[in-house]
């Protein structure tokens, strides 16, 4: 394409549009390392005191326990989503079975369906099954709600595996299961990485489910920790502290995203909600 347009005005326009995002995230980092006098726009002095919550539990409570809880929660979700999607996706992509097109259609409906409307029904089911207020309960719910997307993505990756690989395996006398485990699974490792990173991010960022379905449980995940910390009824709120805790909470997300950027973009392109 020729450059028959001026780039400068476009950059300025984009910067203006993006200004709120730039300001929010620049100050998110800046404020945690500095002090700003009340009424001023720019910080005046450098300090590390906002990060003292990492070692001093008297400021906001012990932050490491919620961190560990979040890690456990997100990892469990990831493992379940990966395991179940990898078999479910293969079945839908390659295996011959009754009602296959019905399952496929149903999966796509669930994929578009706003699952958050089911929260009341899920709440009652957890209550009946005794899983309310348990880690198992919210892990299962979170995994189940991520599953339609997970199966869909894995199916996409399986679809891309050349059919000849499987043919060769079956010719050599291997069972379909062996073919799947020894020949096909290694082929879709990129899918595993992408979906794994995605499921972990989903679990790590989840707030609603732990807050509503396990409110008084003895494990508190980091998102709930941050939300209670920054609740509006806190008498003298300290934004720098919230921002520091929030940045601490988000760092793994940013790191994962930077590492797996291209693969995650494929999933985001695949149409997540929101």
């Amino acid at each position: 394409m020729t450059k028959n347009f001026a780039m400068f005005p476009i950059i300025v326009l984009l910067t203006l549009l993006t200004a709120p995002i730039i300001i929010m995230y620049v100050y998110l980092v800046l404020d945690t390392f500095s002090n700003t006098p009340p009424g001023a726009l720019f910080p005046t002095s450098f300090t590390l005191e906002h990060w003292r919550f990492l070692i001093d539990p008297s400021i906001a409570g012990n932050v490491w326990i919620p961190t560990l809880n979040s890690l456990i929660f997100a990892s469990c979700c990831t493992v379940i989503v990966l395991t179940i999607s990898s078999t479910g996706g293969y079945a839908l992509s390659r295996l011959n079975m009754p009602f296959r097109s019905f399952f496929l259609g149903g999966l796509m409906v669930l994929h578009a369906f706003p699952a958050v409307t089911l929260l009341i029904g899920i709440f009652l089911i957890l209550n009946f099954s005794g899983l309310y207020n348990t880690l198992t309960g919210i892990v299962l719910v979170k995994a189940a709600l991520t599953l339609p997307l997970g199966v869909w993505i894995m199916k996409g990756f399986y679809d891309a595996v050349p059919w000849e690989i499987e043919m060769a395996g079956v010719q050599d006398g291997a069972s379909r299961f062996t073919v799947w485990r020894r020949l096909v699974l290694p082929q879709i490792r990129p899918g595993f990485v992408a979906l794994g990173a995605f499921a972990f991010l989903e679990g790590w960022g989840e707030y609603l489910l732990p807050r509503v379905l396990a409110p008084s449980a003895d494990f508190r995940v980091l998102s709930v920790f941050l939300a209670t910390l920054s609740a509006p009824d806190t008498a003298n709120y300290d934004f720098s502290l919230f921002q520091a805790v929030g940045l601490f909470y988000t760092l793994p997300v940013l790191l994962l995203f930077l590492i797996f950027q291209n693969r995650l973009m494929n999933i985001f392109n695949g149409g997540t909600k929101g």
């Binding site: 780039m7 296959r100 089911l118 029904g121």
Partner: protein
Amino acid sequence: MRTRTSLLGLAFLTPTLVLLILFFIMPVVFTAYFSFTNMSTSTGIGRGEYMLTDTLLRRLKSEGLSQADVDAVSRETFTVDAAGHDTAIAAGVDKRFADDILDNFAGQSFSDARDFERALRGLRSAPRSPRAVKEAARAFTHSALNTRYRTPDELSAVLTAVAPEVEEETRDLIVHRSYTGHVLTTDNFRKLASAPDTLQLIGNTVLYVGLTLAFFNVSLGLFLAILMFYLPKRASGIFSALWLLPRITPMVLYAVLWKWFTWDSGFLPTLAAHLGLPSFNYMKGSIVTAWITMICSNGFVGASFGMLLFSGALRSIPIQQIWASEVDGANRWQQVRRIILPQMRWPILFVTSYQTLSLIASYELIWLTTNGGPGSSTTVWSLSAFKTALFNYTGNLQYGLGAAMALVLVVIGLVASIFYLRLFKFNELLTKPRIEF
């Protein structure tokens, strides 16, 4: 071969199916069922019990139950038995006295409090104070009132014993009404149809979804995508990463950022104070600013969806068309107007319909930021359903009414998803078509 394959397929699919049935299909069924009940905190979630209370009797009386019947069923009798003895000791009655009562009157019944107390006072070990005697007597009281019965028959039997003169029909009515559990009813939908709040909720939801879509998810998304399309790769990479930030940031932190941006001591009010503009808590201070905050905070997340999808669609436009137009001397605006926009019709329709569905159902961010306020000016349907059923400060959760509100969304969601599935042939849009076996 064929059967083995299909068995393996089913085995492979089973875990998926189990989780989906548990947490997708069953919640839908439950939501539908519970929306036709009056289930709430006071009825409890499990099976109800039968309990006669003063409140219920008062209500029944106002509905025409005779005073004589009310007196009869609330009558107290006194029976001396081991259970009463234990209750008396637990209530702090002197052990010797309690033992005496059991020894002397075991199995006897008194229908009048005064007779029973007189009999008690006759005992050698009876305490002096009349109050202590009354207290001891109370432990042996039997009444149909304020006791939980598991089945209607149990309560009916007790009522027959206490008030034999009450007619069977009346008794059945009382037993029926004393059920504390949830009952089937269509009241939820009637309430929704008649409450004036409903109209405001629908209005708010339509306005919120419409404005967010119009300004951000579609317009801004398309605008960003077109700008990125023309910019050199490095610049467009930076800006698309920036616009993706709100999407990948955990919702809680994103809400904190908006609080920092709009609260009294936050960035915008401070900036406004410097410029001499009105400075207050924009998120909750006034209806207009609360709405702007709500739409912008949701829109900044939503815009990236449109941007990503439109960017993909733009890349699939044959570049030769752009080149050809340049040879013909078209400027950028003409390219956008005549070549790009006409080919964006389907992606725009897709983003609009897909995002309408997710916006109607999303409330997490609104809950975390304006929380529906000030007043209920930014409360949308889904937030209201959530708060009615699962989260309010009064603690009286109305599961039935909330489920009815959620059912409306579930039905919209299901119908729309199935419709979109037909309309867009999802798999062609979401992934490249690949060989199917």
